[in-house]
């Protein structure tokens, strides 16, 4: 007989402010099968959990409904508590009266009534829950890390150092990511490449890491513990085994005027190229779009000069398939193209550049060898204007969120400029200064106080050229909105950070959720910041939201620790909420008709055929069978099966029907 315990949480006042929790508990105590129904301030607290545990023991409960927040929040908490009290954890359900009720409705009888309905529904469901045992699946202890920026590099090294195999996939010819483009890093002003390049080399050398550059994810199937990842290795037109990286081909390549992506267009590269001198691997690829041979059918200079005959013009994309237990997304970010803002003149005036370009100008390895020279004429700018929030916090034209890193790097840029051009004057137009990290505020103060960076609080309305100068027109809101006009030699836009191109497609391939800005969504904003909603797929760095380097590295190490944790077991414990083909007594054995129309329905190829045999081994009938290791529990086959021969644990026919009835009928 059902003995259900109902536990109504006030969640401080989060629930009780709009829902009469005492009434809910009282009404629920009258539901058939409810043995105990209580309310409490904080169910998830230790005393709250103890109430649940004690009730289980005292009343010998057969089911528990915790009426509180979303199951995403505390279902594991209470299921564990139930398990500790000896109740099968799958006999515990959460009735979500916070996110789905108290937070979205005003205080009223209707809100309380709705909470009662929700509780009644879950009580009827839990009555029909079955005690389930978790499923164990073997884990392939290899991680695929997607993205070779600092996040991917850090995570790969951490996982590899923990003794597990890593496959690192980078779509560019070299790992390094945006960090390799940076000059110095805030707030310490140490050289970015000096910290990063040794790590890049470590990656290349690590025996546990397989590196695929110029490669992309083609497809992913399978699930946690056993993903099957197909990787497209884009043709580099090169036999990497033969190439020694001598660079002869690059020197001789006749096409030399291609704007370098790495240099943000401020430098040039050849058609066969390595993106930057410290690239890992330091072997060239042919940019087929710009290569004369691919355009005109002749040239082959590189092939001629190559001492090891490594050039392969007819090389095609190839594929590798990797079995992996976990995936890490570390695909980073991009910056908003500033043509959103024609009034800033980006693209129109050569001397209006974005932050990344400034990084290259300031970098000792950059196109100006670290001297701040403006792109148009190579002159050293005397007045330079930095415009913060170029796109950020601007729902009308750009993006509504704060890109978080711009305040700091703009301060850094102004500082670097001042350090290099002592007589110059840097101005910064800003909205607010957000300097919340360790030593960040001090850094900004230093810029203002020691380096005399002129901070102007206000927005720039227009940048236009006049007499060879860039006139920056804005207002100073601290001076009662007085108009400000600065005759600048150069303008640097702190453009917003946005999701890396292709994020959406990648998310769809991996079935992870992403937000409306195409950043990948974490499973929980606080408690599961490096997990996605898809088990076995993790997140690190700016692909989740723009992050600075310390945060990115912290997230990468966090994700790596999660993956290493997952790999520390040989078997993976999985929720057993999977579909099963129902069997019954002979002579029917199963109501499955063996039409096998469900086979194409399954996204996981989990359905195959099973022969039912009598005692002497004769086949009586052939029915569908669901492989529990492959089934992920979507239930599409369950709804499709006409004879209702398939059911799904945790969401079975009886449960969902009872829920519908309980939701619509009072008793």
């Amino acid at each position: 007989m059902a003995r259900i315990g109902v536990f109504i949480c006030h969640c401080g006042e989060n629930i009780s402010a709009t829902v009469d929790c005492e009434k809910v508990a009282k009404v629920a105590s009258e539901f058939p099968g409810v043995t105990v129904s209580v309310d409490y301030k904080y169910m998830c607290s230790d005393p709250g959990q103890n109430m649940v545990k004690e009730a289980i023991l005292e009343h010998n409960l057969t089911g528990v409904v915790v009426s509180a927040c979303s199951p995403r929040m505390h279902e594991p908490t209470f299921r564990n508590a139930c398990a500790e009290a000896g109740l099968n954890p799958f006999l515990c359900e959460m009735a979500n009266i916070r996110e789905h009720c108290s937070w979205v409705h005003e205080k009223s009888d209707a809100t309380t009534d709705k909470a009662i309905d929700i509780v009644r529904t879950l009580v009827e469901k839990v009555k029909r829950n079955e005690a389930l045992a978790p499923i164990y699946v073997p884990i392939t202890k290899t991680a695929v890390v997607i993205g070779g920026g600092v996040a991917g590099i850090q995570a790969s090294l951490d996982i590899a150092d923990a003794g597990h195999k890593v496959v690192l996939v980078e779509r560019e010819p070299s790992i390094g990511g945006h960090m390799s483009q940076l000059s110095e890093t805030f707030p310490t002003l140490d050289c970015s490449q000096c910290i990063l390049t040794p790590r890049m080399v470590d990656v290349a050398r690590h025996p546990n890491i397989t590196l695929y550059t110029y490669a992309e994810i083609e497809s992913v199937d399978g699930s946690i513990g056993n993903f099957n990842v197909k990787i497209r290795l884009k043709s580099k037109s090169l036999d990497e085994k033969l190439c020694t990286g001598c660079g002869a081909c690059i020197q001789k390549c006749p096409v030399k005027k291609i704007p370098s992506e790495f240099e943000q267009g401020l430098g040039k590269r050849t058609a066969i190229y390595v993106p930057f001198p410290q690239a890992v691997p330091n072997k060239p690829v042919i940019d087929r779009v710009n290569c004369t041979y691919y355009i005109k059918g002749k040239c082959k200079v590189c092939e001629i000069v190559c001492p090891t005959k490594a050039i392969r013009f007819d090389q095609e994309d190839s594929f590798v398939e990797v079995q992996a237990g976990a995936l890490l997304l570390a695909t980073g970010f991009d910056v908003l193209k500033t043509n959103f803002f024609p009034e800033y003149g980006y693209g129109k005036y050569e001397d209006v550049i974005d932050g990344l370009a400034f990084e290259r100008l300031a970098s000792a390895s950059g196109p100006t060898k670290g001297e701040i020279r403006r792109p148009s004429d190579g002159e050293i700018p005397k007045k330079i204007v930095f415009i913060a929030c170029a796109g950020s916090r601007d729902p009308a034209k750009g993006i509504e969120y704060c890109s978080k890193i711009c305040c700091m790097y703009t301060a850094k840029h102004a500082m670097l400029y001042k350090h290099k051009v002592h007589e110059g004057t840097p101005y910064i137009f800003y909205m607010d200064i957000r300097a919340t990290g360790k030593m960040y505020e001090e850094f900004v103060r230093r810029a203002i106080e020691e380096d005399e960076v002129k901070y102007i609080r206000g927005r720039v309305s227009q940048v236009y050229e006049k007499n060879g100068k860039l006139i920056v027109r804005g207002v100073d809101t601290l001076l009662m909105g007085q108009p400000v006009e600065i005759e600048a030699d150069m303008v640097v836009l702190a453009t917003a950070g946005i999701a890396s191109p292709g994020s959406e497609e990648l998310a769809q391939k991996l079935h992870v959720s992403y937000d409306k800005h195409k950043f990948f969504s974490e499973a929980h904003p606080k408690l599961k910041p490096v997990e996605t909603n898809t088990a076995g797929i993790y997140l690190a760095g700016a692909c989740q939201s723009t992050k600075d380097i310390p945060e990115t590295v912290a997230a990468a190490s966090g994700a790596a620790a999660k993956i290493a944790g997952l790999f520390s077991n040989d078997l993976l414990k999985r929720d057993p909420l999977i579909a099963v083909v129902k069997k019954c007594a002979p002579p029917l054995y199963s109501s499955c008709t063996g039409c096998f129309m469900c086979i194409p329905v399954c996204p996981y190829q989990a359905i195959d055929k099973e022969e039912i045999k009598d005692r002497s081994g004769n086949i009586i009938k052939t029915i569908s069978h669901i492989n529990p290791g492959l089934c992920q529990g979507c239930g599409t086959c369950v709804a499709f099966c006409k004879s209702k021969s398939i059911d799904i644990l945790g969401y079975n026919h009886d449960q969902v029907c009872a829920e519908v009835e309980a939701l619509l009928n009072e008793w």
Binding site: M1, A2, R3, G33, K127
Partner: protein, 279 residues
């Protein structure tokens, strides 16, 4: 209850619930209305329709003895929709009951005879009524032997009563479990009921055999009884066909001309042999 609505059940309250085996429960039921309790009577072997409002009715025998007044008991295994709903109920809940229906074990005719009860699995409940009825009128009968088997030790129902019968000097109880169903501390027999019966080789003289069990057990038990010399009219069994009404109208329980609900459920082997094999 003033009604002539033959479909209207008595309302009964569950006084006691016991879990006898995995998925098997026994309810002790009392009439809510004292007048019903007063007017109600039944005899051993009869059955009724037990119902859960909103779910439906299910047919099973009255498992208690008519000698025990003031309540009836029923034992059921959770299998279909109604028995699932029933097993969800607890003490104090109310259920519907209509009955009694069907014929009875002719225990008056058995006076002065030896009784051999042979039961398997969940078929002990119908037998339990008649066993207790006979034990409560112990002086009317000579030797009483009970052979009861189940798939496994856990599946044996009425364990406490089995112990009680075992301890009684005037009852010989033999329990058995199917091979593989025994536990390490099992002291009873191991083997299928017909096999054990064969080993027991009961004497047929002046003995009535009452057999209840799954069809496969019955099928193999009758020949052994025959071998031991039991005449067909000395062997009784009770049939459990699917029923809806309980009073010969709904048309399900026909076995040839025989209506199990009216002419049965108790049949002698002699009667059974005259019926077509459609049960």
């Amino acid at each position: 209850m003033e009604t002539q609505n033959i479909y209207l059940p008595y309302i009964m309250q569950i006084e006691k619930v016991s879990e006898d085996a995995p998925f098997v429960k026994t309810f002790r039921l009392k009439f809510i209305n004292p007048e019903d309790a007063e007017s109600f009577s039944f005899k051993t072997g009869q059955f009724g329709e037990y119902s859960v409002a909103g779910v439906g009715e299910s047919t099973f025998c009255i498992a208690s003895s008519p000698t025990r007044k003031g309540y009836i008991e029923c034992t059921f295994r959770k299998a279909g929709r109604v028995t699932t709903a029933l097993s969800d109920l607890e003490e104090g809940n109310t259920i519907g009951f209509r009955g009694p229906y069907g014929n009875v074990f002719p225990i008056d005719e058995w006076k002065g005879k030896n009784l051999l009860f042979i039961a398997g699995g969940i078929a002990l409940p119908p037998m339990r009524s008649v066993i207790w009825n006979c034990l409560d009128l112990r002086e009317n009968f000579k030797d009483i032997t009970i052979l009861y088997g189940a798939k496994s030790v856990a599946d044996l129902v009425y364990k406490h009563e089995l112990r009680e019968w075992d301890e009684r000097p005037d009852v010989k109880l033999v329990t058995t479990v199917d091979p593989g169903g025994e536990t390490h501390d099992w002291t009873g027999e191991v083997g299928f009921v017909p096999t054990i019966l064969d080993k027991m080789a009961p004497k047929a003289e002046n003995t009535i055999a009452i057999v209840c069990g799954p069809p496969i057990m019955i099928k193999y038990t009758f020949p052994i009884l025959e071998k031991c010399g039991f005449a067909d009219e000395m062997v009784y069994t009770t049939l459990e066909n699917r029923m809806k009404c309980g009073f010969g109208k709904c048309g399900r329980c026909n076995v040839g001309k025989t209506y199990v609900c009216k002419d049965g459920p108790v049949f002698s082997l002699k009667q059974l042999k005259q019926m077509p094999d459609e049960y």
